[in-house]
């Protein structure tokens, strides 16, 4: 696990980047603050695979949990509601 930058419990921010091509980080979550819950292995980079390349080097993938209310300011449900999204390491920044 030494190759991974984050571990469970780390506060992270999803990069607020908007490249025009194929990515697997949903638009709505970019720029949001969350907490890593789990490292779920390193996988070939889908942003490379999508264009016919081999996806190497592999990218660490994390499950990241967000509070609904932090993602949607007008969220109508209870404050405890959350979402968990799978996000590759290169889409995450450390949050202080």
């Amino acid at each position: 696990m030494s190759e991974t930058k984050y571990q469970a419990g780390d506060a992270v921010k999803v990069r607020a980047a908007f490249p025009p091509g194929h990515v697997r980080t949903p638009h709505f979550i970019r720029g949001c603050d969350g907490v890593v819950t789990q490292y779920v292995g390193s996988h070939p980079n889908p942003e490379e695979l999508a264009y016919g390349r081999d996806g190497m080097p592999k990218k660490p993938l994390y499950r990241v949990k967000f509070n609904q209310a932090d993602v949607w300011p007008n969220y109508e449900g209870p404050a405890k509601d959350t979402m968990v999204i799978d996000i590759y390491e290169h889409w995450l920044e450390k949050n202080q």
Binding site: R24, T25, P26, F28, I29, V40, G41, H43, P46, L61, K65, Q68, V71, W72, Y75, E76, G77, P78, K80, D81, T82, M83, V84, I85, D86, I87, Y88
Partner: protein, 221 residues
């Protein structure tokens, strides 16, 4: 292995203003350009020796064996065997293999409903789904409405399915965006303490493993 309990409505992936009708028996139905394209490509890759007709047939037959009953068996076993459940939560592939179910190479992660958390799965970017464990997804899972709304107003979407989650339970939405697929382990219904695995399996619906509903209660089973 067919889905006899389903209706044959021509559900599809968008609003109903431009229907694409089709029926299983192509000879009786209008065919679209893409159906022709699919047949043409299937024949070309066989003629070129890339695949054999046997392999194509075997693949289609194999997917026909993938159905919610496989996942239901897994869930029912977790209700009866806490150690098995622990193995499911750490490694669905190995635990499924114990039941003779091969889920292939795409990792599936199980997420457990508890007294405190209700889980529901969506894929906002496409339609990722644990197909090797519960078969191909229903149309609504691939619909714009489900993919758009579930991540933002999950409780309202659950209401569309007649499922009300109390406010003291956290609703946790899982967006299946990357290399993992998710299957929900619904909670065991009350009043089933003396039930055997076979009866319990009947309570586990496809929708309960997506998380839009709960397992059936003994009264409605």
């Amino acid at each position: 292995m067919s889905h006899d309990d389903h209706d044959h409505s021509h559900g599809h992936d968008h609003s109903h203003d431009e229907p694409h009708p089709y029926q299983p028996d192509i000879e009786d139905a209008p065919f679209t350009e893409r159906m022709v394209m699919a047949q043409a490509v299937a024949e070309l890759i066989v003629e070129k020796g890339i695949v054999s007709t046997d392999e194509m047939r075997a693949q289609i037959e194999f997917m026909d064996t993938r159905e919610p009953a496989l996942g239901a068996k897994l869930v029912a076993r977790t209700w009866l065997d806490p150690e098995f459940k622990a193995r499911v939560l750490t490694d669905v592939k190995a635990a499924s293999a114990e039941l003779g179910i091969d889920i292939g190479d795409i990792p599936i992660q199980a997420i457990e409903n508890t007294e405190d958390v209700h889980n529901v799965v969506v894929c906002t970017l496409c339609s990722c789904y644990p197909r090797m464990l519960i078969g191909l997804p229903p149309d609504w899972y691939k619909s714009r409405a489900y993919r758009s709304r579930t991540i933002k107003e999950p409780r309202k979407v659950l209401e569309d399915f007649g499922t009300t989650i109390p406010d003291n339970v956290e609703v946790r939405v899982h967006d299946s965006t990357a290399d993992l697929r998710y299957v929900v382990l619904p909670a065991r219904p009350a009043g089933t303490d003396d039930w055997n695995e076979e009866r319990l399996t009947d309570l586990v619906t496809r929708d309960s493993m997506i998380g839009v509903s709960l397992a059936k209660s003994p009264e409605t089973a």
